[in-house]
Assembly symmetry: D2
Homo-oligomer: 266 residues x 4
């Protein structure tokens, strides 16, 4: 069953500024873009580049003054979502090079500093069962409070404050997984059922793929519990929110508004 | 004229622990490995994987107890080192996808938070001249003080404290460049002339390549002024020190000692 | 010439919560409260305690639901405001015990980490001339941007970001002074000429008192340049904003609005 | 039964530097200084001032080059140490002004950011029973690891890393208590039984005094479990370690060594 996505956002630039936008559902095997329409306000120039790991595209825009973006799409998600607890860990030395990069600390996910907590709390579990326990621990110990965090909030901040939004929940889960030598990345996405409706974010962990012996695959995990992996449309991925924001401004910008609607197609 | 490298380091692990090591000069076109020898202590297992952007290799080791590494090599560096001030910027929307990733904030280089300072201080300059001014500003305003920083020290910490070592100088330069929309990465390397002798680190920025019109290339810049790009052997690169440490431990380890000697071959 | 103050603010408490309020002009020798009126919404209880160093009062309130405060006053300020540059430093070992406490690091003013910068930049100056240079340096290098900082923003954050409001300017000045072994504290105040009109904050430094040989006194310094010390009504003082907020909530509260008007009496 | 204290420490100053030292057991009613000897190396000048809340003394020293301090004392501690769990909370609005100041955030104890965690974890308990649960929670969840923290480590850092020394344990306990509207301060002290032997630190909380109806008193609490309040000699108190270090240097200093021995007199 496809999902219907509608998003728009607007911002203002006091002087000519370079921006990277990434807001379109990615055209990748696990999700088919049935239809889509992107409307960008007029800009000094626009250019597309492949996004991280070639999942989706980033759009360079150089603009001035008021700027707005509108996007709508229908996406058929065909993602397998196996029971997380059944998935084994991939031994670190058997990880493919591309997954190894997602073990390292990043802007918002300083995993090295959480090794002691993670070992004490989750050390007796393995693989997918460990990740499931991390997800449940976050769900139980955090409060979902829009406005409680800022763009500077890191996973460590969130761990201290125990409050945040999807971005913060995903950062903490990514951090826990990496501290446990499980590669983890951040996924910007659209998903029905997110309250309040907005751009959404979840984590993705690299675990054994039971359908391909000896191999591994990335699995979506949402510590907020709001998104169903089988109905989630990925925009892009990155080490954390620094890599895959819908709007990255290389200069000062004033964000004005955004509006997102995601529904299951009837 | 080649350089001779000799390095050894040792650490202790209280329980079986996975480690990533990266300490060998990379086999890449700009430097030829004339000879090399690596001696790893016995481990529970050892596996090599390509390192970031396929520059050099990382070595997975699973070990317990005392562990030591010895490495020696002779490397012929054939790197062009054009006058930095003569290099033009590559317009953001013309950057190749692989360089775009080095514009984003990373663990130790939170460039978004320095946009205001960088615009005020360096905003009137362009391209290589701007990077050269950043390098000189750091050299003038920082004190090289071994022991003044820790593995947690970020570029923002260093900017406040105005003290640090090569790692910190490189982080600040990377941060300044990114805040100015110039891709920048962190380079672990060996270089003669580093005082005190140790593993070294410099920055690398992506600017126009005058020998390939329309294209860009990475250029080494050392804000400490100790390393000559034409005599520097790269170990590997990353967004910052989180990606390219000679020792990344996924569990608690106790570092015991390291010793590095780099000399120009006579 | 007196000043007229009018302030109101409102907030909401989801459950019974203890709050400390401090918003009234202090009754101290250097300013006379000609008239004043305070209206507190009904509370579960209200109690007054002397505020820090007995300058002004704090009001304990235990309340639930919507809560609002209204305050108006006419205050005659009789503060001497000597030329800052003419004031000598008090030697640390001659400081009175009460001033010594304002040399230490506090929540938002981590002076120890800025000793190197302060020594390099201002080390050749002494006493009031040094403080004046610090004030002018901040005025020159910072942008006054309402909304650019949060209640978590420290002086180090502000030093990095070069943007903030009166609170941030005062924190940076306090930090610089302490890093130079000059006692400095944070002053919450009302002042005409503040744009946009709001609660204001400035720094106060302890320097030699030329009218009392061998002694010292506290002198107001406003790095934003908006407040005239001779027309500023102090509310209270503290090590930094943590001590002297108009609203400190010991539990979660939702701030709704505030409105401040300060004018010179005609 | 008295305790015998012996301490010495040494450091080096490259240029004339002002220092504050605080290392002597305080002469206060709850502990009698039976004998003591302080030997300070020669300095450019030395001056004593009362320390915070008049508990103990700070010593100003202006010195250059190598500097050392030796101290020995015999102290009879006569401190009541009631069962913590039996002590009631003092209602915030009944706190004396001097205790109110210890509710605010300080350099290393940013209590506002931990209100959510503290309410969730300890919210159903009251007064001394709540503090005892905080102490036990820290003891259970932290690892005592000399060298795992630095002078910059805050309570939030320690809460994330779950490792530290007495200073860190005390900071976390102070932070938890304040987040729960219980005044808490930091106590530098000497105590037998501390392993490894060193300067020690504990927390002190303000709770009801059953011997003085309507009043409150400060009670020592050691989350490390190493010090017995009935045998602990206080050096001084402060909001946190920033206020009551044995060595606060207003300029760069190089710490060389320290040695502390505390034993029960036989």
């Amino acid at each position: 069953m496809p999902i219907d996505i509608s998003a728009r956002f607007a911002f203002h630039l006091d002087q000519p500024t370079d921006l990277l936008l990434q807001f379109e559902a990615a055209a990748i095997p696990e999700q088919k873009i049935l239809s889509s329409e992107t409307r960008l306000a007029e800009a000094m120039h626009v250019a597309r580049v492949p996004a991280q790991d070639s999942i989706g595209e980033r759009i360079w825009v150089r603009a001035l003054g008021d700027y707005s973006v509108e996007y709508s799409a229908r996406v058929a998600v065909e993602r397998l979502a196996p029971e997380l607890g059944s998935l084994a860990m991939v031994d670190p030395h058997e990880l493919p090079g591309e997954a190894v990069g997602y073990l390292f600390d990043s802007r918002y996910c300083q995993a090295d500093r959480m090794q002691s907590f993670v070992a004490d709390r989750f050390g007796k579990l393995e693989g997918g069962a460990k990740v499931a326990a991390m997800r449940d621990w976050i769900a139980e110990n955090f409060h979902y409070v829009p406005g409680a965090s800022t763009p500077n909030t890191t996973a460590l901040d969130s761990f201290v404050e125990r409050r945040g939004i999807c971005r913060d929940y995903a950062h903490v889960l990514v951090t826990f997984a990496r501290a446990s030598t499980i590669p983890a990345r951040y996924v910007a996405c659209y998903a029905p059922g997110v309250e309040p409706q907005d751009f959404h974010a979840v984590a993705e962990v690299f675990l054994n793929d039971p359908t391909a012996p000896g191999g591994g695959a990335w699995y979506l995990v949402d510590a907020t519990g709001m998104a169903d992996p089988a109905k989630t449309a990925k925009i892009g991925i990155g080490r954390d929110a620094a890599d895959v924001s819908f709007l990255t401004s290389f200069g000062l910008s004033r964000f004005d508004s955004s509006e997102v609607q995601v529904t299951e197609t009837k």
